[in-house]
Point group: C3
Chain length 344, copies 3
């Protein structure tokens, strides 16, 4: 039960409404007017809750759930317990996400510029946008409609934001062009000088970084992540990419559409990711690499070579996942052999 | 000698007072009225300083120290140099911490809300609390007594703080309930949306994150760390846990009491730590794991399986520490063999 | 072509001027008055651009470049295409950095304290310094000349900055003495309490951290990096060291001159680096180590032993680079052998 200090659920909603929201079908004879008031996990849900089954490992939980309604693939429908309503879809988890969004919509934005915000007179702020106390908006900044700039965020000269974009508290943006429906978490630093200099014993010489960061529509970037601007070319985060907390992306890097980069991963300068690449937590990619569409980088992998489309790599240094598993097994066996080490 | 621009030592204190502070005993014939004015390491301490011996490796340094006073286990007392006073305790390092706190107490808090802070009228601020310039306190926030909210920190709507809690400059808190005597360093981001969405080529669909972060009493969280709120359940940091800088803790994770998580470690969503677990620097834990009481995770380990109470693991992927050491040795030997690689 | 919303190039400049800037020589018969207006990579440059050749791998690109001018080592001059002007130097990349700085100088600082900044009356601010909106400057702070303190940055009581130093937006400084020409990126946290406490099941006991952070001249520190103050001794970042984003440096650590620490690396407490040490991305160094002058730590290495001057180490745990490569090869061969694993 969400804490009412923080969350105000919408609903209840009828089964028919939820089916529409989720793009799901009903079983013949379903009670389309039955109402539900929340969402919960299979094991925790009660008669007023909607839940989901997305993994056949949980079929047993499904068969015993007390939930009033479940999103489920049609082929598992016959395992449903008595009295439950089903929302039939081949994407139950996506359906669940949509249903949960219906119950917990984003709070309505109260537009306005707080009297303690500092907005340069040359900045343009779109209709319906909210700017919180302490936010500092620089010269010639352009902010679209229905955006939300959090308290103490700093938006540097010339930055552009699309519509419906959220900038978290204490986020710092500079030298960047940001699309619509982008979600930037607290503490992100975007558009920083890239780490470029000529090494010299008399004093390293900084190279001007004259590119930008381009953040396309529907991107999310997690708390305290850092994305450097390009050195001449731009750094680009492709449409719909999801980036977790404390991720670092170096200058000139380019991510395609729909990439997922999990917490504490790092992508070095000039490396290019195709579309729908997944970089798991703490993985690191060297500079100047090309990672193909749909490639998957395992957690904590250290990638020093290109990865082909659809490739899966892991280990330090990273290698094809299958090879890494073989090595892990082989090493385990080696160490178990008599005399492999000095047994005491 | 601490820089007087930053630190104002208390004292001097008598040996009797320090014994009380440290919970230590004196030797027969000790000069209980002798006064000391500071603390220092064994090798650096002079006649006015208190030092400690906590490791028998340093017995030789102990025998030669110029310190005026030393916290030491009684069984090493006979090795003490002439003229030194001893504070006898079986926990010399803890005793030293307490003595050092006596010499360097936290500076007294000057209460008051800075005229440039922004506090919503619906917020409740306890007696003796200090709120610095630029801090932004949201609606219905409750802050206890003798708290200190640093400059430009942002405390979101509905957040609750206990008594004697410190929120560092530029920290961002939202969707969280924080206990008493908690120390949150600068730049921490707490209560962020967890990294939850249904992956979909037409656009990943975000799942509302309707849980909170619960931070129990006496917790410390280091600079630029990020703790996401739960997805439905809460994310919980148990009483007395110490978390270092740049640590990432995912949604629904639960830490027990007294855990220690060192810098740049990451704990993924829904993973549960028992009490007094130690996670060393840069270690990463996958999601949905259970780590038993007192377990120890080595630096940079990549943990993908449960760890039993008291277990010690290391390596990538992590395995029992002993096994990892065996593998390290076995691999070293293998590589030294003739023909193991193409020798040039 | 840099986005004019963010960058205003200087120039054009004559070949003679650029030769002076770069410390380079001209070929006999060079057209010293020819003018150039920008910089670009070998493959992208046009007749008005200056480029550089720093790696013989790109000799073919050099021979075909359309650039109007190229910084190059004299021994490659004969490979130059017709019509190009050459700037001859044995440090072409450094020369390029200097030329690029000429075309893209730092924007001129408009001095002044923003009316929405908060500066304690006891602080001293040097001539020509700019302090942006929302910045909070504590008691007895001393800031030199021509500094720039970004929006919402927080500078704690007693902190000292030299001349020409830049503090990024939302950076937090405390307990530190900072030199001249230092560049601190957004979100850095400097001078935090070190992670020091006596472990105790009744409640870990914090040890006062009474040292400072000393940041020498010409240092750069990347976004969201964290540097803890010393426990008694100071934490020191030596002159000209370059530190990337999200780096963590623990209490009492000491870096020599000109060190390079790449993103997401971590240096634990009391570890000492000599001069010109390179720590690559994501590497971690244990505490109390000594790393010699000019040593190089590979990306993601886990260093648990001292490294001699000039040493190169990699792997987890880290070992000499050559040995690590041997082990990697040997393990790869082992895993390929028949029966090394259960082949299916």
């Amino acid at each position: 039960m969400p804490d009412p200090r923080f969350f105000t659920p919408a609903g209840p909603f009828t089964l028919a409404h939820l089916a529409k929201v989720a793009g799901a079908a009903l079983r013949p004879g379903a009670d389309a007017k039955r109402r539900f008031s929340g969402v919960a996990a299979l094991a925790d849900a009660g008669p007023a809750d909607v839940t989901f089954l997305d993994n056949r490992r949980y079929l047993k939980l499904f068969a015993e759930t007390k939930a009033g309604c479940c999103l489920v693939d049609p082929r598992f429908a016959e395992r449903a317990p008595a009295g439950i309503e089903l929302l039939l879809t081949d994407k139950p988890y996506k359906g669940f996400a949509l249903v949960a969004q219906a119950f917990f919509p984003e709070p309505e934005l109260v537009p306005g510029v707080h009297v303690r915000a500092v907005v340069d007179p040359s900045a343009r702020i779109g209709e319906g946008t909210r700017i919180d106390a302490g936010a500092v908006i620089g010269q010639r900044v352009e902010i679209g409609r229905r955006c939300w700039v959090g308290a103490n965020a700093v938006i540097g000269d010339g930055v552009v934001l699309g519509d419906d974009t959220v900038v978290g508290p204490c986020a710092v943006l500079a030298y960047c062009i940001v699309g619509s429906r982008v979600l930037l978490h607290p503490g992100v630093c975007i558009g920083n000088r890239g780490f470029g200099f000529a090494i010299d014993p008399k004093g390293h010489v900084r190279i001007p970084q004259t590119g930008r960061v381009i953040i396309e529509d529907d991107v999310e970037i997690g708390a305290n992540s850092a994305i450097d601007r390009g050195m001449g070319p731009d750094t680009v985060i492709g449409r719909g990419s999801m980036i977790d907390n404390q991720v670092m992306i170096g200058h000139n890097a380019r991510l395609g559409r729909g990439c997922v980069v999990v917490a504490q991963a790092g992508i070095s300068g000039s490396t290019t990711l195709g579309n729908y690449v997944v970089v798991a937590a703490k993985a690191g990619l060297s500079g100047h690499l090309t990672i193909g569409d749909g490639a998957r980088i395992a957690a904590a992998a250290g990638v020093i070579r290109d990865v082909p489309p659809g490739g899966e790599v892991g280990g330090l240094p990273a290698m094809p996942l299958r090879q890494w598993h073989r090595q892990t097994v082989a090493l385990g066996r080696l160490a178990k052999r008599k005399g492999a080490v000095d047994d005491q």
